[in-house]
Each structure stands twice: as C-alpha cells, then as structure tokens.
C-alpha cells in the first residue's frame, strides 16, 4: 500500500534527517514509526503526504509515485492527525469534520451524514456535539474530533503524529484502546508516529524502529521485543522487555482450558481427599449449569468438617475473560492475591483457569520463539 524506496531527506543546512529508508506498509496494517526524538520518524511520515519534500528516493502509494500527484489531491486522500490536533476554533465540530468532504465537493447532506457517523464512531453523541465549538470541548474530546476529522472523507490511508501525545496517561490508554477497536472496524492503512515504546507495542501490527535517520528494525512488536536485531534495539525496548511482552499475549492463548472442577453439591471430605491425593491446592467450584461460583482451597477444607463444598467455598472473587491482555490479568492476580485466576465468559460460565506457572511458561516460550501476535 505504501512503499518507501531509499527515501532520503537532506535539509538545506546539510542535516541528513532520513537516510535511504526502504520498507513497505501493508494494506490495513497499523505501522508504528518509533524512535527517540530526532530519529527522522516525523520527517519520514511527512514525506508520505509531501508536507516535506523528498530529497531522493521514491514513495509509492498504491503503486503510484507520490510526486506524480497534485499536492492537495494527494493530501485529501490521506487522513492527517497531529499531536496538537490543530482544530479550527472558528468552526463547529461538524464543520471541522467536514473539512475534506467540503474540499472534495460532497453535497451538504452527505457531509452532515458523514460527520454524524464519525462522531458516533469516536463515541461522541452527534446531537450533542456537532454544533459545539472546539473551545467548548475537553482535551480528550478534541483529540477524538481530531481523529474523526482525519477520517472525514474516508481516506484509505491515515497519518497520525503522536495523536494521543497531549493527553493525560489515563485518558491516553483509553483512547488507544478505543482507537484499536475503531481500527478493527475500518481497517485503514495507518502510519502512527510515537516515541513511546508501550504505545508502539500496544498499537502496532508492525513497528519501524528508527535511529539517526536510519531504519534499525522493521518487525512485529514480538520480534522487536524478543528478537532485537542489535544492542540499540535491545536498549530501546528495555531490560524489562519480557514484561512488556505481556501486552502482546491474551488470556486465551495462555489459559488452561482443561481443568479439574468440583460441583457445589460434592462432599467436602471426598474433595479434600482428591485434592490431597493429586496435590492440588485450589479448585474452581461450579453449579449444575456450569456457572462459576467460587473456589475452594485445601486450607479451607482442613479441619475435616462434614458437609458439601458449598459450605466451605469462598465466593467468586476476581475473574477475567479470554480477550483480556495478559498484563491486565496478571495485575489482577497480584492485586487480588489469587494464585489461580478463573476465566469466565459473559454468562459467568467457566472457560479456563490462568496460573502463574502458565504465564511464566508462556513468556519463556515467547522469548524463546520470538513470540506471535
């Protein structure tokens, strides 16, 4: 979709900002440009829509050399969102979003419809926000409008320069997750510039790690973490790269789907005997419909009281679902003190269990094999 061929940028004062960069971004992928400041990531991005003229080399968009297109025409087909957002304060939210559709000569009703649709997409109520002015919005809302505006005329490509950079950390994480959900729906080819390794790992299908205008490694987040090409990459991803890898794994890839469970009505003494014999110290408890009710630990059974499991079980504590990211699940285990985390579906039916051992093994495996996403 976007192909860079020996792209080079030398500024008038002789600084070489980008040096012979070559790689290709596949259609529908989110490609992160990552690197320390001054590495050339923004310059490279801006050469794609020619906000910065290229010194030598070629950039092809859908196979067409981007210098063969008219500047404005090229840019109207590439969405553009920047950290400072740059909303037009004299225009309403709706007018901002309709900027490119207006330039493209869409009809009034089609533009309005599109603006409403996009506000809906970024989870802002159209009736409430479409006629508001940017100065009436919070920072997070402005950022959302910025994204909606970039998607205005439904461009196949999106360039985003630290789009969530100006937002506080809590809102940023939320916006990132939301944007990923949006990307699931719209499947645009996206260039996403950031200097934040966490953001890069979370957002990227592929990461282009740059340094001093050179492309150091162009790879999946997992490979970047577990197969660093050289010492620079290793240093950049950090000594805790194994921990960062937790972001790349989902509970469903790590959990144990076959597990021993007991029924609420089982005899406690029998269960204790079984746990002692098999050396298990915790078991999930289900009712007759397979719904997760809680867990029993061997310690609560000691004392030998007669009765059913129901009398000794500790009711449902923290649980997680199969789609949770592993670092969230692990954090939950650490904070709730559970050695085994029950994984349930939306009907509270038990789908599996997650243990520290399984997490450790999965991480080890990922480091060994280079991981998968």
């Amino acid at each position: 979709m976007i192909k860079l061929e020996k792209v080079t940028k030398v500024y008038a004062d002789g600084t070489k900002a980008v040096n012979e960069m070559s790689f290709e971004v596949n259609q529908g992928e989110l490609c992160v440009f990552l690197g320390p400041s001054g590495c050339g990531k923004t310059t490279t991005m801006k050469m794609i829509n020619r906000l910065i003229p290229i010194t030598s080399g070629k950039i092809y968009i859908d196979g067409v050399d981007n210098t063969r297109m008219n500047d404005s025409e090229l840019r109207r087909n590439i969405g553009y969102a920047i950290q400072e957002i740059g909303l037009f304060t004299h225009m309403t939210v709706g007018q901002n979003i309709e900027t490119v559709p207006v330039l493209k000569g869409w009809s009034k009703s089609r533009r309005r419809e599109r603006a409403e649709e996009l506000l809906e997409l970024v989870r802002m109520k159209p009736s409430e926000f479409i006629d508001k002015y940017p100065n009436e919005l919070s920072g997070g809302q402005r950022q959302r409008v910025g994204v909606a505006r970039a998607l205005g005329a439904d461009p196949p490509i999106l360039l985003m320069d630290e789009p969530f950079g100006a937002i506080d950390p809590i809102n940023r994480v939320e916006l990132q997750s939301e944007f990923l959900k949006i990307q699931q729906k719209i499947r645009k080819t996206i260039i996403f510039v950031t200097h934040d390794i966490y953001e890069a790992i979370k957002m990227g299908d592929r990461i282009a790690l740059m340094k001093d205008g050179e492309l150091v490694q162009y790879d999946t987040p997992a490979n970047l973490l577990y197969r660093p090409k050289d010492a620079f990459v290793e240093g950049f991803v950090g000594a805790d790269r194994a921990l960062k890898g937790l972001q790349l794994l989902r509970v469903k890839e790590v959990m144990t789907a076959t597990y021993a469970a007991v029924n609420m009505k089982d005899n406690a003494a029998v269960v204790r005997e079984r746990m002692e014999k098999e050396g298990i110290d915790w078991m999930p408890v289900m009712d007759n419909n397979g719904r997760f009710m809680g867990g029993i630990s061997i310690s609560s059974l000691i004392g030998g009281r007669a009765g059913t499991v129901k009398d000794v079980l500790s009711p449902s504590e923290a649980t997680s679902d199969v789609n949770a990211v592993l670092n969230e699940a692990l954090s939950l285990m650490l904070s709730s003190g559970l050695k085994t985390l029950p994984i349930v579906d939306e009907n509270n039916r038990l789908e599996g269990i997650l243990t520290f051992d399984a997490i450790q093994e999965a991480l080890h495996e990922a480091v060994k094999t280079g991981g998968t996403k």
């Binding site: 906000l51 920047i82 957002i85 740059g86 037009f88 304060t89 004299h90 900027t99 330039l103 100006a166």
Partner: protein, 250 residues
C-alpha cells in the same frame, strides 16, 4: 454597562458644546458657523476619513499578511519599520511635506487639495492596520495551519478559510484604531486645502477665538467617538462565534 453610560454622557456633552457655540451667534468680530456649515464640513471630513481608511485597509491588510508568508518574512522589519516611521513623523509635518512637494507623481498631482490630504492620512493611518494584520497572522497556531495543509487545502484556501477568519478580530481592532486616529488627524487637512471640520477649528486658532475652536473640535470628537463605537460593534459582530468562547482548561 458603566462604559455605556460614560460614552453616552460624553456624546451628550460634545453635542451640547456644539449647540452652545453654534447658538452664540457672534463670536468676537466673527460670526459663528451655522449648523449647515458644520454639516457640510463634517461631510467633507468623513469623506476624507472614509477614503483614507479604505485605501489604508486595502494596502495594509495585504501588506501585513504578505510579510508573514515564508520567504517574504525577511521583509517584515522593513514594512513594519516603514509603517512606524509613517506614524512617528508628526502628522502636521507629513501634511506639510505633502503639500509642498514640488513635483507631481506620475498619476498624482500634489498640491493644495483634498487628494493630498488623503494621501497624508493614508500614510499616517497605515501603521495600526499593518501591525495588527501582521501580528494576528503571525499568532495563529502553526498546528492549525499544518492541519489545514495536511488535509489538502491550497494556500489560498488556507488564507481565506482559516487564517483570515481567525485573524479578523485583531485586524478589525487595527482598523478601528486607525479610523479614530485619522478622524483626529484630518483636522489638519484644511492646512493643505482639504477642508473638513478643521476649517472651523483653524479659523478659531488663527482668530484666537476659543469658542470657534470648540465649535470645530467638539463635532470632530463626536465623530471619532461614535465611529469608534460603531466599528467596535462591527468587530464583535464579525468575530466568528467559536472565537468568542474561552477555551476550557485541558
């Protein structure tokens, strides 16, 4: 609200002074000017101010904008400095110089007439307009311009749809200041044959009759104040609604 009361009182006082001096009939050995005289001179006065400000806007806004463009920004000290000099020369001197220029320019014949006065007023009124146009354009958030470019607006579209609407309030302030100053400076136009309310004032000056001076000065002040108020309302009305809202803290 208090501001409006002050303004109304001021205007009433100025009208009162005009009526008082006009109804005096004979002032020393002179006859006071009649209401008809005042209206005629006020008309001349306004015509001069109108043309001077109009031409100053037509020159000043593009000039102030032009020197904010990349490549041309090196000329900005020259242009702003030039406009500064224009205003720092005493207005009387500008007018005198204009009137005594011994040669006619290619398409303009200087001499003792209204046109000479208008040219002098343009030079004098240019500074606030150039300076405010320049400052307002310079102060637009670069991220806004970058977004506009990044979305595929042409240069001209950016000026027309983004920069001018954002700059208009400050440009309008410049025009207002220039107008008010020009109304005052136009008093001097009579010295180069430009007529206007200065005719009355300077008759008083030469005759050493304070009442006559007041008879010319009061209507002039009245014009300046009311034009200022009118232009301020236009300024408010023309400012895009989104700019009147104070930004929320983020």
């Amino acid at each position: 609200m208090r501001r409006w009361i002050v303004l109304v009182v001021l205007l009433v006082v100025l009208v009162g002074l005009t009526v008082w001096t006009t109804s005096a009939g004979d002032i020393g050995i002179f006859h006071a000017f009649t209401y008809a005289d005042i209206v005629t001179h006020a008309k001349d006065h306004l015509i001069m101010v109108f043309w001077a400000v109009l031409i100053a806007v037509l020159i000043g806004v593009p000039l102030g904008t032009l020197v904010t463009r990349p490549g041309l920004d090196r000329a900005s000290p020259l242009v702003l400095g030039g406009a500064n000099v224009g205003q720092s020369i005493p207005s009387l001197a500008i007018i005198a110089i204009m009137a005594t220029l011994p040669f006619g320019l290619v398409f303009f014949d200087f001499g003792f007439n209204r046109e000479t006065a208008i040219v002098a007023l343009i030079i004098y009124g240019l500074l606030p307009i150039v300076r405010n146009s320049y400052a307002s354009m310079r102060n637009i958030n670069p991220a806004v311009i970058e977004s506009a470019r990044g979305m595929g607006m042409t240069r001209w579209q950016i000026i027309r749809k983004i920069e001018l609407p954002l700059a208009i309030p400050i440009i309008m302030t410049g025009i207002r200041v220039s107008t008010v100053v020009t109304v005052g400076t136009a008093e001097l136009a009579v010295l180069v044959g430009g007529k206007g309310l200065g005719t009355i004032t300077f008759t008083g000056v030469f005759a050493r009759e304070v009442l006559l001076i007041i008879q010319g000065a009061a209507p002039t002040a009245f014009l300046a104040v009311s034009l200022g108020v009118i232009l301020e309302s236009i300024e408010k009305w023309i400012t895009p609604r989104g700019l009147k809202i104070k930004a929320r803290n983020i």
